[in-house]
């Protein structure tokens, strides 16, 4: 016990003397929480639209007004030929092109049917899909209006109609910040815990001080615990700063129990620190440790469900995410912070993360050799 106390004192001294670590602990939560949610706005609006009106009739004018009044579209081109409009698409100045054919109004009234031509820049699939369907909806509504106008006693009232009442739970205003901020909190804890612990033992190896520790009676688990505890405390500090920032800036207060949140983070930190230490025991230089950690971090974060839902992944990828501790943390953060889930709801995740912690730390202790 005494040995660990001395080790802890040494570690804390080293941490407080290293300005870059301190800067990272304070600055990273603030920067990430302030900038990322601002940038991560997935709402599709301001879609740039180019229109080619070959008809110049009352109807085509009305259609254009309806579209621009919808608020989703920004009219960036009013061209006379399709080729001109395509140039706007190539220069990324237009996302959608709507072509109204000649005699649109006349044919619609006479032939009961008329086509509109829509071209979508589909490089960004999601945006293309949404933009196209917005435009489709507007055209459909416009169509209904015209029909009502032309046939005043529309028969549509006599048909059976199912009214769909939808409500969005846990986030009624569909605020993107609610989705992204708990995820960023999870990433923060992971990055701080993972990088700091991965670099730590390796640094002692690189500058040679590990030899001095190896010749003392310090036990393996003493040494690992002495490395683990300071970073565990640091992780909790970062998490607290993050929670405060998300409360002050975004007004996000956890719905569920704060105790449960800290409890889960406590266990999770053990797991991710264990992972960092494990990498540390396998590497010889800080450069290697950084890069390897970075390699895994990138996979963990991309496949953790931060930006794209895990359910949308193919089966093999979903299977891979079962071995990704970050995905459990992101999941639990959202459940507890947004939905107010209780201990009973997150018990499976807690169990798995505890298992990660156990296995990774045991592996790190076994792999740390005092002899070369």
């Amino acid at each position: 016990m005494r040995t660990i106390r001395f080790l802890l004192r040494k570690e804390f001294k080293q941490i407080f003397r290293n300005k870059s670590i301190l800067a990272m602990v304070v600055a990273m939560p603030i920067i990430q929480l302030l900038i990322l949610p601002l940038a991560a706005n997935y709402e599709v609006k301001n879609i740039n639209l180019a229109i080619i009106d070959n008809d110049h009739s009352t109807y085509s004018q009305k259609l254009i007004t309806t579209i621009t009044a919808s608020g989703y579209f920004r009219l960036t081109g009013y061209n006379s030929s399709f080729k001109e409009a395509m140039q706007l698409v190539e220069a990324d100045k237009a996302d959608l092109v709507l072509e109204i054919p000649q005699n649109f109004e006349r044919n619609l009234v006479r032939e009961n049917e008329q086509k509109l031509f829509v071209a979508v820049n589909a490089i960004n699939g999601t945006k293309a899909n949404l933009g196209g369907s917005y435009l489709g909806n507007i055209i459909k509504n416009y169509n209904d209006d015209i029909r009502l106008q032309l046939i005043p006693d529309s028969r549509s009232n006599a048909q059976p109609k199912i009214e769909i009442v939808s409500s969005n739970w846990f986030n009624p205003l569909l605020n993107d910040h609610f989705f992204i901020v708990p995820g960023i909190l999870a990433i923060l804890i992971t990055m701080i815990g993972g990088f700091l612990s991965a670099l730590n033992i390796v640094k002692e190896k690189e500058i040679g001080t590990i030899e001095q520790i190896n010749v003392t009676p310090i036990k393996k688990y003493h040494f690992i615990l002495g490395k683990l505890i300071p970073f565990w405390i640091l992780g909790n500090v970062v998490f607290t700063i993050g929670l405060i920032v998300s409360w002050l800036v975004y007004g996000i207060v956890p719905f569920g129990s704060l105790l449960l949140l800290y409890g889960f983070v406590a266990v999770y930190l053990l797991a991710i620190l264990g992972f960092g230490l494990l990498i540390s025991t396998y590497c010889e230089t800080q450069q290697q440790a950084m890069f390897i950690m970075f390699f895994f971090m990138m996979i963990f974060i991309l496949m953790g469900g931060l930006f794209t839902p895990i359910e949308s992944m193919p089966d093999w990828a979903q299977w891979v995410t079962k071995f990704n501790p970050v995905s459990y943390l992101i999941n639990v953060m959202r459940m507890v912070i947004l939905k107010g889930s209780g201990l009973k709801d997150v018990l499976p995740q807690l169990g798995i993360v505890a298992l990660f912690a156990l296995v990774l730390n045991a592996w790190a202790i076994l792999n740390y050799k005092k002899t070369n």
């Binding site: 601002l38 196209g132 169509n143 028969r155 939808s166 986030n171 450069q287 390897i292 359910e311």
Partner: protein, 368 residues
């Protein structure tokens, strides 16, 4: 000249001997392309849905079987107790719930009007909106089978064509992004850290007192990374062509020329960071926070730039990867020529020259 070659050879050996760094160097591009290409998508499929059927009549069952047959949903539970919805949401068992009230069919047929309630888990707002849209589409579809006989006059049909990417895949959007990301990582982070490492371990002194001119030392340090990066560009393009079925539409030569320009920009950035810092940890931190984060944020392949607040949109203009991303998208996906991207190329070149001048000015031949 011979000296330079010897130094470059030393650097190559240096990098190639470190297997763990090689993993990052060549493994990362492959993994990134695979993850982005196959694992990440916003596509909705087999989302868990709970159905509370209090009506249990012809209409509700017809709709339920349509929902069950849809590729977007997997019926997690069919019940008549609406109290089960909330716990299921909290346990994360379902994403959406549909409630059919009592006498659904009766209302629909007698009064021509019936109500369905749809509840979605909006912790992920986009997903929730998409799911509600899909459920509504299924219900409207059923409704229109009821109205089959009615004739709709004055029909406007919109014929939609998806340009460049008819199947709406994610790949055309992210392959250029991954290229920018990988080149930046390899060039900035690896060069910065490897030069600073020589400072930290003290071998930089030895290099600086050698008969080589200091600038040539730096040049020889960055040459291997230029070559490795070009190898990475080639491997990403090969993967994209043969694994993701996304071939290069424009000129390959132009693409490689522009990539070389961007690599030089990144190398200059890496050198600049290494000139300014003295420890590996700090160099790493600056490359991560100052380079990687802005690239992910501002190149436009993960987050839409046009939705950002204006100050961030302005900042995005000084991020070199944004311009490279636009160039690659134009050449690779749209198949445009140099005339379409000369402006972006000019901007990228100016940023490079500017950075080069600054780092040369700050370069010191003495360490202390």
């Amino acid at each position: 000249m011979k000296q330079l070659l010897v130094f470059i050879k030393k650097e190559f050996t240096h990098v190639l001997r470190d297997r763990k760094t090689l993993l990052i160097l060549f493994g990362m591009p492959v993994i990134q392309v695979l993850i982005f290409g196959f694992a990440l998508s916003n596509e909705v499929k087999r989302s868990e849905i709970m159905i509370v059927d209090q009506a249990n009549d012809q209409a509700s069952q017809a709709i339920i079987s349509k929902i069950g047959a849809s590729q977007y949903f997997k019926i997690e539970k069919l019940t008549n107790d609406s109290k089960q919805i909330e716990p299921a949401f909290k346990e994360n068992k379902i994403k959406i719930a549909v409630i059919f009230p009592l006498n659904f069919n009766n209302h629909l047929l007698r009064e021509n009007k019936a109500q369905v309630q749809v509840l979605a888990d909006a912790t992920d707002p986009n997903n929730a909106t998409a799911l509600i849209n899909y459920v509504s589409a299924v219900i409207t579809d059923y409704q229109s089978t009821l109205n089959k006989n009615a004739f709709a006059p004055y029909r406007i049909i919109s014929e939609t064509k998806m340009l460049y990417n008819p199947q709406l895949k994610g790949a055309p959007n992210f392959v250029p992004g991954v290229m920018a990301l990988v080149l930046l990582l390899v060039c900035v982070m690896l060069t910065a850290v490897s030069i600073v490492r020589e400072k930290e371990t003290g071998t930089m002194e030895i290099l600086l007192v050698s008969p080589m001119r200091p600038l040539l030392v730096i040049l020889s340090k960055s040459t291997p990374y230029l070559i490795f990066s070009l190898v990475n560009v080639a491997s990403i393009l090969l993967l994209s062509t043969y694994v993701l079925n996304l071939p290069v539409k424009g000129s390959l030569l132009l693409l490689f020329a522009e990539s070389t320009l961007f690599i030089i920009t990144c190398l200059t950035l890496g050198i600049f960071i290494s000139v300014k810092t003295s420890s590996q940890q700090v160099a790493m931190l600056i490359s991560l926070m100052g380079m990687l984060l802005p690239t992910i944020l501002f190149s436009g392949f993960m987050f839409p730039i046009e939705n950002m607040p204006v100050p961030l949109q302005i900042i995005s203009n000084i991020v070199p990867s944004k311009w490279y991303y636009i160039i690659v998208k134009a050449v690779m996906i749209k198949g445009l020529g140099f005339s379409a991207i000369w402006k972006e190329t000019l901007i990228l070149t100016s940023i490079t020259i500017f950075l080069l001048l600054i780092s040369l000015k700050n370069f010191k031949t003495r360490l202390a």
